[in-house]
């Protein structure tokens, strides 16, 4: 049927036909090419430093070699901006097929039904992995534990010796800790007893909550904030005293200061151990379990990296295949040895590499009494309020009990909002 043409515009119409023809050819070409095309899955992950990244690439290459019809596209995220990018991706439906999430971020997405329910598959592996709590929500499982990390006490033996503290007896209780930190802080020169985190996000609460837990605290009691309990007051009062003999800075600078021998005690993770081992000028140091409240037990913060599949993924099967590959004990172990984390796979974590190394073994032991961030859909907001309370007390303007009182009323108000 001839097309009806407006008078005076035949040339346009010819052009349109040519263009239309070209378009058709292109579309057909696209259809034909699709048949033998590989499936490409995207993986968003956080391991970008020079030690981890080559291993990530190696793992991906091995997987692609074993699965010639699957391509894995790796997209790097940063800790500072990653959370934002992920939320935006979920909001706009541009999520990847496999996503690495920090333990404290999973609930925000699992609670809103944005992650693929992996319960059926995961239940078959339950006892092979540790720390499932962060990916569980209302009885379903939304991801796999991948890498586990905890924080322990690092102490500087050189400074302890100078302060006449027995280096074979690192502090086991809060009062020992405080008196040793004070002794070091009184030394001459630019040295400090303790390393106190400042305004960085996602950091400070990880230092404070273990103390709170060690004093017997629970964040929520009967659905209400219980930060202002006796345990909260005890923990915050102690932390404030510790900060008084401390230097304030961001985590990276604190780690560096410890490495340069300027800090007596710091709470840090496996990355600092790696840093100290690589640096020939490191001071003599030791690692110990987190000191316990004088009446409590040693508790630390456990964080972990989890692998999840967003619900929108159209390659869920391939994604699952890739996750299975990453979680194989030998792959889990390989990556952990490079980055210093403990494998979530219990068989890999039992490797002599972790159990026989006196330093790494402290992490292994600490993991047994470590707790993760409470699973809560609004955790990111709650965390900011807890950090606000700690900061208020740290900078001295507010008493610990009124700081905690305020945080609790803020948190309760947040929980009451729809």
């Amino acid at each position: 049927m001839p097309l009806r043409q407006a008078p005076g515009a035949p040339k346009v119409s010819v052009m349109m036909r040519i263009l239309g023809g070209c378009l058709l050819v292109l579309v057909c070409a696209g259809c034909i090419r699709r048949v033998d095309e590989k499936t490409t899955i995207t993986w968003w992950q956080f391991w970008t430093d020079s030690r981890a990244k080559p291993l990530i690439e190696e793992l991906v290459a091995t997987f692609e070699g074993a699965n010639p019809n699957i391509n894995v596209e790796v997209v790097d995220l940063t800790w500072a901006e990653g959370h934002q990018k992920i939320v935006v991706a979920f909001a706009t439906g541009t999520t990847p097929d496999v996503l690495e999430l920090g333990s404290d971020w999973v609930a925000e997405f699992s609670s809103k039904g944005l992650l693929l329910d992996l319960t059926a598959e995961a239940e078959r592996h339950l006892n092979q992995f540790a720390m499932w709590e962060p990916v569980a929500y209302q009885g379903r499982i939304y991801g796999y534990p991948w890498l586990l990390g905890t924080r322990v006490l690092f102490y500087n033996k050189d400074l302890m010796r100078r302060a006449k503290v027995d280096t074979t007896q690192p502090p086991a209780t809060w009062s020992e800790w405080l008196s040793q930190a004070r002794a070091i802080n009184n030394l001459k020169g630019d040295v400090h007893g303790f390393a106190a985190n400042t305004f960085e996000r996602h950091r400070l609460y990880k230092k404070f909550l273990p103390l709170f837990w060690s004093a017997g605290g629970e964040l929520f009691v009967d659905g209400k904030c219980a930060l202002n309990s006796r345990a909260g007051l005890e923990a915050l009062t102690f932390y404030r005293e510790l900060c008084k003999v401390g230097v304030f800075d961001v985590q990276r600078e604190l780690d560096l200061a410890f490495q340069r021998g300027k800090i007596g005690f710091t709470i840090s993770g496996d990355w600092l151990l790696q840093q100290l081992r690589r640096d020939p000028k490191s001071p003599r140091y030791g690692l110990a379990l987190m000191p316990r409240a004088d009446t409590g037990i040693s508790v630390s913060f456990a964080g972990g990296e989890y692998l999840v599949v967003p619900k929108k993924s159209v390659h869920a099967q391939e994604a699952q295949l890739f996750i299975d590959f990453l979680l194989q004990p030998e792959n889990n172990l390989k990556l952990c040895r490079a980055i210093g984390f403990v494998p979530a796979h219990t068989a890999a974590a039992a490797n002599p590499y972790f159990t026989e190394d006196p330093h790494l073994n402290v992490f292994n032991r600490q993991l047994e009494s470590s707790r993760a961030t409470p699973v809560h859909p609004r955790w990111v907001e709650i965390e900011e309020m807890i950090e606000g309370a700690v900061e208020r007390a740290m900078y001295g303007g507010t008493s610990p009990d009124s700081a905690l009182e305020r945080a609790c009323s803020d948190i309760d108000q947040l929980l009451s909002r729809p």
Partner: protein
């Protein structure tokens, strides 16, 4: 009458008009709507909730702290920057040795990325940074943990950086205005035996009034939106002492993803900027002829 799409003017205006509507007018209107919802990108609820975001804002201590910090920031940096810019422009308009070098040197911060500048100044402000040593040498006691980690010095430290970074640009504007002044003004001043101060007060200052207005309005609007320095250097800390309104909006909207609340705060900021700009324009006689 030709149909609309046949008129060339329509086609010429269209690219701008479309982008204006799509990327400016629509988002603005949508943000106003969002301010009356409790929308979050993950929750996705767009239902109208009335003015509750504004009510919450009214009772939010963090918001008022941010508003106070912002007003203080604007109130201090804008006059200081303007005065310094004018002073530098007058100096560099006279025939002094190395004039070109100085002009370039003062303008240099304006062409450097503010992120880079902020990172460099962060290093200067640390506990063992240069400025602490300078303070000690001058007999002052610098803050124990560095300038950016003390609630009393963090905001002034950022203000100082902002003045340093902004002054060159406004100096250039003043310099251009000074060079555009007719030589007759100065000649008549000389003939009337005006002193230097009188020349400045009664000739140069009134003649520069349109430029002063431009500098003040530009700088006020820019200073109300201060964000990069805060984001890079302190993230609003310590204890919210450097939290500004834009940082507050960012934190509510893009960290906590409470878009409705963030939109409400953004409109509060908009109202504040509009009010201050209007007052400025009125006080300085916007649109009046220059009387010499």
């Amino acid at each position: 009458m030709k149909p609309l799409w046949r008129r060339p003017a329509v086609w010429l205006v269209a690219p701008w008009a479309i982008s204006f509507v799509a990327f400016w007018l629509f988002p603005l209107g949508f943000a106003l709507y969002l301010a009356f919802t409790s929308y979050s990108p993950l929750g996705g609820d767009l239902s109208f909730v009335g003015p509750q975001n504004f009510v919450r804002l009214w009772g939010d201590g963090d918001f008022w702290q941010a508003a106070r910090n912002t007003l203080l920031f604007v109130g201090v940096t804008v006059p200081v920057t303007t005065a310094l810019a004018l002073g530098l422009a007058l100096l560099l308009n006279s025939r002094i040795r190395g004039r070109g070098l100085f002009r370039a040197a003062f303008f240099f911060p304006s062409i450097t990325s503010l992120v880079v500048v902020a990172l460099v100044w962060t290093a200067l402000y640390t506990r063992d940074g240069v400025l602490s040593s300078v303070a000690v040498a001058l007999g002052f006691t610098p803050p124990e943990h560095g300038f950016l980690l003390s609630t009393s010095t963090a905001l002034p430290a950022i203000m100082l950086l902002d003045v340093w970074a902004a002054v060159g640009y406004y100096m250039l504007l003043y310099l251009a205005a000074l060079q555009a002044l007719p030589a007759e003004y100065f000649e008549s001043a000389r003939l009337l035996a005006a002193s230097r101060w009188q020349t400045l007060r009664f000739v140069i200052w009134p003649a520069l009034r349109p430029m002063t207005l431009l500098v003040l309005v530009l700088n006020t609007i820019k200073s109300f939106q201060v964000f990069i320095e805060v984001y890079v250097m302190t993230r609003g800390g310590p204890l919210g002492s450097t939290r500004t309104l834009v940082y507050f909006v960012y934190n509510e909207g893009l960290v906590k993803f409470d878009m409705g609340y963030a939109s409400a705060a953004a409109f509060a900021l908009f109202a504040l900027v509009a009010a201050v700009s209007l007052v400025l324009a009125r006080r300085l006689g916007f649109g009046k002829e220059i009387a010499v």
